[in-house]
Subunit: 291 residues, 2 copies
Amino acid sequence: MLLGSVEAGGTKFVCAVGDEDYRILHKTQFPTDDPKETIEKTIQFFQQFPELQALSIASFGPIELQKNNPNYGFITDTPKLKWRQTDFVGPISKALNVPIYFTTDVNASAYGEYVTAQLYNEKIDSLVYYTVGTGVGGGAVLGGKILQGIGHPEMGHTFVKRHPDDLEFEGICPFHGDCLEGLVAGPTFEARLGVNGADVPKTHEIWDIMAYYVAQATIQQTMILRPNNLVFGGGVVSEEFLVKVRKHFKNMLNEYVHVPDLKQYIQMPRVKDNGSATLGNFALAYRVQSE
Amino acid sequence: MLLGSVEAGGTKFVCAVGDEDYRILHKTQFPTDDPKETIEKTIQFFQQFPELQALSIASFGPIELQKNNPNYGFITDTPKLKWRQTDFVGPISKALNVPIYFTTDVNASAYGEYVTAQLYNEKIDSLVYYTVGTGVGGGAVLGGKILQGIGHPEMGHTFVKRHPDDLEFEGICPFHGDCLEGLVAGPTFEARLGVNGADVPKTHEIWDIMAYYVAQATIQQTMILRPNNLVFGGGVVSEEFLVKVRKHFKNMLNEYVHVPDLKQYIQMPRVKDNGSATLGNFALAYRVQSE
C-alpha cells in the first residue's frame, strides 16, 4: 500500500510516499512559494504514484478543519498574505482523487509520536507535542484521537509568568507580545541578544530563562490535560535545554500531582530527524483510507 | 427511577435523590467532619430510599479515578489531614449496593452544565467549568466525555502573567504561591486587603486585577482545548466580574482565533443556586446505571 505525506511549512514543503509500515520510499522538497505553483508541484509529485491510496496533509495554520464549514481544507487568516483564504485540500483532492486527511503540522507530529509510542509498546494514552522553532505550536492526542475543539489548538499563544531577569523584554508575537511564542520562539534570540540562536552558547543564561517559560507550558498541560507524555521538537530544543525545563518544572510543580519520571515525561521526539510529522501523516493516511 | 447525588465539599456534604428528569426530590446537608462519621451519615441518608438505582459522588480532591488503581475511589493527598488516603467509594458501595460514578466536584458541575446545554438545544460539543471560590478548580467535557488523563485536571494551578499593579502580592497557594488559585481564590481578599471578599466594593480595583488573571485562564483553555463554552461558578464570580473578564480576554486574544460571542462564550452557570454539580451527578448516575 502506498501512503502520502505533505508537510506544508511556512518556508518549505516536504512531500513523501511511504508504505504501510510507514517507511519513506520517495521524498522531495521545495520552497513554500506562490500557492498556485506550490500546490501544483505537490500534485505533480504524487501523480508519479498512481497506486497512491490516501494522503495526509499537515499544514501551517491557521487552517479550517471543521468538515461542515464551507471553507474546510482552507488555509485561513495566515500572516503569509499570499496564502490567505487559500483552498489547499480542494485542488489536491480533485487532481489525485484519493481520501485526504487534513490537519496541522503539530497535530501530525503528535500523532506520529503517539503511533511510535504504541509501536514501542509504551503504555501511553495521551501525548502533547510542542514545536519550539520559528514559531511555537502544540498538538495533542487523547485516547488515540487528535484533540480538536471549535478549531485546532494554538498552544503557543498562552501567557506565562515572567522571569524576574527578563521583565524588560516585550516579546515578539505580533498578536500578543509576550505570550509563550513571543518569549521563546527562535527569533527571540535575535530580538533579545542581536545574534542568531545557533550562535548563543549553551551556557548563556537566556537558555535558563526560556526553559522557565517552557516549563510553565508543561505545567499548563499537566494541570489541564494530564497527559502521559510531553514531547518537544523544533530548532530551539535540545536534550540540554530539556534538562533545564525539567528542573524548572519540578520546582514549579512542587509535587502537587503525580507525574511519570521526568526523563520520560518531558522528552525529545522519538522519531529522529524531524520525522514525527511524516510518520504521523502516513498513519493518518492509513486511517483515512480504511474508514 | 431514583438517582442519587453526593457533593462532598471541603466544608459540607450535600446529599440528594432525584428522578430521571433530574428533579431534586429529597435533599440534606451536614458538615464535612470526621471521615467515618460523615460517610456513615451519607449512607444513612440514602438507605431511606431502597429504590435508589445509582449514585454519583462529586468529591473534593485530589481523588483517585483510575479504575485499575488499587486506591480507586479514595481521597488521596488532600490538605484535609483526617481525610488523607480515605476509601470513600468502598464503604458506600458496600452498604448501598448500587452502581456508583465517582468524579471531582468540578467535573460533575461541568457535566451538569453540558447536559443542561443539550437540554436547551444549544449546539455545544465541549465546555469548561471553573469554580472560583475557596479554591480554584476546573473540569471539562469534550464530545460528551469528561476530560481525564493520568488523573483529574487541576486547572486552578497554572501560572499566569502578573498584573503590573499586583507585583508585590506573593499569592496564597501553599504549593505554588502565585498560581491562578493563589492569586484569585476567595481568601486572597483577606490576604491582600485584610477584609472579607463580601465586604469589598465592586468598584475596587482588585476586581479588575483578578479578572485579568481569570481572563488568562480563559486564554489557556481557548488555545489548548478550544471549547465552545466556558462557565464560571463559585463565590467570587458574578456577572459584573465576568464583564471585566470578557474585556481583558478580548484585549488579550486580539482576534487571534475565532471564538463565539463573548457573552455566550464566557458565562455564569446555567443551573441556578450552585445546582450544576447535583444535576451533573444525577446525569452521571443515570449513565452509570444504564451501562
